[in-house]
Symmetry: C2
Subunit: 116 residues, 2 copies
DNA sequence: TGGTGACATCGACCACTGTCAATGCAACAT
DNA sequence: ATGTTGCATTGACAGTGGTCGATGTCACCA
């Protein structure tokens, strides 16, 4: 066979497989990593869960400090991270600050995940 | 109305809304946070993307070092994190180590996310 | 006006993480 | 046997992140 001499050449480059579709861009990877990093903390996941399960789908800090077993400054810090990342929204009513889930925020990051 | 005297009591506790459904457990939050933390890195997201886009849906380290612009030990470290977290599987064939996506791993964590 | 309660911010500490150079190891070629 | 190549591991370093006490700020009440 005349193709016999070509095969070794192909074998040498066998470790490097070509790409069959586009990959995620570096900027897109940075953004998605930032969004995921905001969720990748047990305290913040529990905060989201408690807010979502609360009556009226909203809760204030006083509702959240005790079940988490963390100090008030720490809970405030986590809530700020979640608000800055777009997962929660904050509304101040009188003395209390109420937090609500931003609709669709979890679904959108979950959808981005499966298309990586 | 005889219920008039009860209302102020209700108002005093107005900041504390009751829960309408179960919240995520602390252990479950820990597990999910660990899974998300493994994904919450730009380099690891790009690794997953490149592996998924590679011919045969697998790639070796030599395919991954150059496009990421990171050193070989760093890429190996990230790949180990992804394997330990169940997103990639590693198969050694001769000199090369091939990495493949674990089917359904991304979908399952995405599904867990929207049910928090 | 002074006091109190709810929340945010600051400063500091400690643990963790991403990164790389150096090294180790195993498979292959010569 | 010796060298080479692909990859993993180690050790060290700098940067980041979670936590809390102390403090600041604002709304409300007496």
């Amino acid at each position: 066979m005349t193709t016999r001499e070509l095969l070794p050449v192909i074998d040498v480059t066998a470790c490097c497989s070509p790409l069959t579709r586009d990959t995620i861009s570096a900027d897109h990877a940075d953004d998605l990593a930032r969004s995921l990093k905001a969720l990748a903390d047990p305290a913040r996941l529990r905060l989201i869960s408690i807010v979502a399960a609360s009556d009226g789908a909203e809760a204030c800090v006083c509702d959240l400090t005790e079940p988490l077993g963390l100090s008030q400054p720490t809970v405030s810090h986590h809530l700020k991270v979640l608000v800055d990342s777009g997962y929660l929204e904050r509304e101040k009513r009188g003395t209390w600050a109420y937090f609500r889930l931003v609709p669709g925020s979890l679904d959108s990051v979950a959808h981005l995940l499966v298309t990586v």
